[in-house]
Symmetry: C2
Subunit: 351 residues, 2 copies
């Protein structure tokens, strides 16, 4: 209620939404990021495509449906168990394309380097990008290199932008989930976030936990061939819970999840417990969550399980007509918990 | 000659090409940047499109010829006489598209923000991006926001990537200039670089010199309608001389320029003299240099002069069969000077 409404003059001395400067949480992918987008970016660049708030834009260019997506990678440390910033910069962007059903085709890569970055370190990361691009079957076709003086960046930031081709008839969007859809998760959650965090903090369980970074287009292609997919997300920043909350709001559906069905590795679960983190909110880089028409859910699940990147795929719940926009989780002890967008950052600079 | 060749065992203790870490010059757009691309990026990402080393890639997507280009903007200060990083991030990328003859259509924008950046400063720069996008008739359709902790970036970096449509029949490339082509420059050089540098250093002539940042697609469209364009470049980092050297090498032609024909504003010339800089190597952000078939050079020049962004357009020389790959400048006192790629950075962080 605003101060302008009659009979109510209360104003909040520390407005939650009106922050005067940027905080780490603005990059969390959670509520503060959403505020920044809603209050600043959407009004400035307003157009129909941007308003959809998908992780990629689908454009009509000379009759072809082109998907386009961009991501800056600022992960620290640059190398972590199971991957590095170079591999992440390829897989993160091809996966955002794949989540529209598009076949990733071409990537651009823009580098911001800090003066003093050892050439050998850069060469190793470029080599890793090269291998990841080959594995994902995309070509890096254009790029840019900027160098900033020592202390003006943290070693290396990479921004990749991808374009891909959306096949005829495919219409996948965060706003397209429907009541009755089966919610399928492609594998265990929390691996990437905990791998980066434990490396960064030098924690003991480092080594056993490795990032799941992987390209997902082949999995998506197999799913599209097997059945009818309505919505897809790769739950990166903000984790599975954030992706589900966004889809629930965008599609206006409710969701009912079974926490016992959601796979979490034992070592990831233990690390999260020690650190007081919730794996539902921890970033993944090689997983997807799909909203699949109930009629073809079995076929899609079978197709997923046949591929290495989907071998642990499992139905974790359903989209429902009731409580639109809300995600309910049946807990292990039989209670019900409401999942919400995180306000700020559990783990900064995770990608 | 390497140490392995018989009868010659000299090795250089400080190899010029084998630097062990990144220096500012690797971002100069000059010889060190070229080395980094040739030694590191090209071998890693090798493909036919990247090998052309144009400022943009031209891709075949479902039968359409799509141009794609990316640039990170790290200019300091964020606001300078005549423009700011927001405006630059739009114009720089639409101009790289336009230099292939493509009509710029869609842009992505990825932001790396430093914790503590005042929200009002960010809002002003986003507003400026928005105005520039409207003026250039492009839509920002997707984006990303990352925040890094205080001290890990310098306030704000923006990476924009653009896609555009290359009209049928247009074939413009740095490797396409031909002996006999007239070299047309669209206006005065050095304005942008000197505007940013004088603001950064708090120099007296600040204020009289303003950046030339401007979108150039309308100018390119008028030129394409008027005649036959073989090569186009917007001489940004490294300035006019670097662009010409790159085209000379890529096309295997020589060039003969008349220094008296190259327009430089009096205040820019004076500032360059005081600072010991050569305006031929200073960045521009709203100028282009074109290689035009001699048969239509008059018509193209006339079409350029009819538009505000080309009103000072002028023929500055010719491409010639002789001394392929070399750019010769007839100096004001009648001598001849060989222009070469700059080794390193005259003015770092200019865009």
């Amino acid at each position: 209620m605003s101060a302008a409404e009659p009979g109510f003059t209360l104003t909040c001395p520390v407005p939650i939404t009106g922050r005067k400067s940027i905080v780490l949480g603005h990059g969390s992918g959670g509520r503060l990021t959403a505020q920044l987008i809603r209050d600043l970016f959407l009004p400035a660049f307003d157009n129909e495509i941007l308003r959809k708030l998908d992780d990629q834009a689908v454009l009509d260019v000379a009759g072809a449906r082109i998907a386009m997506t961009t991501d800056s990678f600022v992960v620290t440390p640059l190398v972590f168990p199971g991957g590095d910033i170079g591999e992440l910069a390829i897989n993160g962007t091809v996966n955002d394309l794949a989540m529209s059903g598009a076949q990733p085709l071409y990537l651009s890569a823009a580098f911001i380097l800090e003066e003093g970055l050892p050439m050998a370190e850069l060469a190793q990361l470029i080599e890793s990008m090269s291998s990841a691009a080959k594995a994902a079957e995309v070509a890096v076709v254009t790029g840019d290199t900027k160098v900033v003086n020592r202390g003006s960046a943290d070693k290396l930031f990479i921004t990749t932008t991808g374009v891909g081709l959306v096949p005829d008839g495919v219409k996948i969007s965060a706003s397209n989930a429907r009541a009755g859809d089966q919610i399928i998760l492609s594998g265990t959650i929390g691996d990437h976030g905990m791998a980066v965090f434990s490396k960064r903090e030098g924690l003991e369980f480092e080594g056993s936990i490795v990032s799941d970074t992987a390209p997902l287009y082949k999995l998506v292609r197999a799913m599209l061939e097997a059945g009818e997919i309505h919505a897809l997300r790769d739950p990166t920043r903000g984790g599975l819970a954030t992706s589900l909350c966004e889809i629930a709001v965008a599609s206006g559906v409710g969701m009912e999840l079974d926490s016992r069905a959601i796979p979490v590795r034992e070592d990831v679960k233990a690390a999260c417990e020690i650190l007081g983190m919730d794996p539902l909110y921890v970033a993944n880089e090689g997983k997807l969550v799909a909203f699949v028409d109930a009629s073809s859910a079995d076929a899609v699940l079978k197709a997923m399980c046949a591929l290495p990147e989907g071998r642990d795929a499992v139905v974790i719940g359903q989209a429902v007509q009731a409580h639109g926009g809300m995600v309910l989780l049946k807990t292990e002890i039989g209670g019900t918990r409401l999942l919400d967008l995180p306000f700020t950052e559990q783990l900064p600079r995770i990608c």
